[in-house]
Symmetry: C2
Subunit: 199 residues, 2 copies
DNA sequence: GTCTATACGCCGATAGAC
DNA sequence: GTCTATCGGCGTATAGAC
C-alpha cells in the first residue's frame, strides 16, 4: 500500500486497460459515439496522446478487441468440442457459455453479436468466416452426418438455432426479458434444440 | 417532355426524395458513415443547405424515416389482422410480408430490424413499444388465449418466432444465405411456427 | 427553394518537451 | 510513457443573396 498511494493516478496505462475501457464504451454507446476522449477519461489519462503509445489509431483498438474476443471464444469452443462428443452436448455447453457471458460479461456479447462491426471494421472477415463460427458450423455438420440432427442444410440449422439463442440474449440485454434469466436459458435451449433435432 | 429538360438538374428536391436517399445510405453504410454531403449528392443538390428546407437536422431525417416505416408496417399489420382470424394465418402473412420486403425493399428491413437505431435515436421508443410490434405481440397473446399456440409467456413466443425469422432475413441480406430464397421462406416459417404451435 | 460563403466545434492525430 | 500544445479536416449548421 505504500508503493502506490491509493489515489486517482495510474503509473502506467496498459494496453489491456484501454481495451477493457473501449469494450465497455463501444458496447454501451457504439463505436461512433465513443471518442478517444471518452476512452482517455475512462483510463485516467490527461490527454488522448497516451493512447497512441499502444494503438496506431482508433480503429486499431476495435480490431484488437475483436481479435481478442474471437480468440477467447475459439479456445472455449475447442474446449467444448474436446470434452463432448455429441452435438447435443456441444451445443448445450455452447449455449451455457453464451448465457454465462451475457450475465458476467454482457459487453462481450453485445460487442460480438449486436454491434454492427462492419460499419467500422470494413476490412475484417464476416462473423461467420471467423474461427469460432467455423467451428460452430462444424458442430452442425457433424450432428447431421451422425444422424443426431435433422437432415438439412447445416447453415439453416445454424440459422434457426442461433436465431433463437441470439434473439433471446438480445431481449435479455435490452431489458425486454427481465424476470428469470436461468429459466430463459433452459427454455431457449429447448426451443432452439427442437428446431434442429431429429425426431 | 418539354416541361422538364431530361437532364441532371432537379427543379425541386422533395422531402420524400431526401428520405428515400437517406434510407438507402443509412441502411447500406450506417447512420454515422453517412454525411449530409452524401445525402445532398444522392439527390443532386449542390450543397447541404437545401436539406435544411425540409429537416431541421440530420437526426430529424432518421426520425421521420423511422416514423414512416413504422406507420406503413402498422397499417399492413392492421390489414393482416382484419383479413385473418387465426394466429397461424396472421403470422403466416406477416412472414410473407417481411420476406417480400426483404426482396423488394431490403433497405427497409435493414433499417428497421438491423440498424442500431438507439445509437442515434436515443429519444425514440424501443422497437417493441412501437405500434406495429405491440400489435404483433397481441397476435401471440390472442393465439395463446385461443389455445392455438402453446401456453407460455407471449413475449417468449415472440422471441423464438422472430428470432428465427429475423435471423433468416439477416442471413439473406448479408448474402450468407443465397441459394433459394422462396425455399428459405417456407422452411423458416415452418421452423418458427413449430416453436410456438400447440401440438 | 436553391445557391454561395462561411462559421464553428469536435475529433483524430502528431510533434516534441519532460 | 505521459504530458502540453497544436494542427488539419470533416461534418453540421446558418446567414443571406439570388
Amino acid at each position: 500500500m505504500d508503493q502506490e498511494t491509493e489515489n486517482t493516478h495510474k503509473k502506467t496505462v496498459t494496453q489491456d486497460e484501454i481495451l477493457q475501457a473501449a469494450l465497455k464504451l463501444f458496447a454501451n454507446q457504439g463505436y461512433f459515439n465513443t471518442s478517444l476522449t471518452d476512452i482517455k477519461d475512462a483510463v485516467n489519462l490527461k490527454t488522448t496522446a497516451g493512447i497512441y503509445q499502444h494503438f496506431k489509431n482508433k480503429q486499431a483498438i476495435a480490431i484488437a478487441l475483436y481479435a481478442n474476443i474471437l480468440d477467447s471464444l475459439s479456445i472455449s469452443i475447442d474446449d467444448i468440442r474436446r470434452r463432448n462428443r455429441k452435438a447435443s452436448e456441444q451445443l448445450r455447453e455452447l449455449v451455457d457459455l453464451l448465457f454465462k457471458l451475457t450475465e458476467e460479461a454482457p459487453e462481450v456479447i453485445q460487442f460480438l453479436l449486436f454491434v454492427k462491426l462492419d460499419e467500422f471494421l470494413a476490412t475484417e472477415k464476416r462473423l461467420l468466416d471467423t474461427a469460432p463460427f467455423i467451428k460452430i458450423k462444424k458442430i452442425f455438420q457433424a450432428g447431421i452426418r451422425d444422424g443426431e440432427l435433422r437432415t438439412c442444410d447445416p447453415l439453416l440449422a445454424y440459422t434457426y438455432f442461433f436465431g433463437i439463442i441470439s434473439h433471446t440474449l438480445k431481449m435479455i440485454l435490452s431489458g425486454d426479458l427481465n424476470k428469470d434469466i436461468d429459466n430463459y436459458q433452459a427454455q431457449a435451449w429447448l426451443a432452439a434444440w427442437n428446431t434442429v433435432v431429429k425426431k
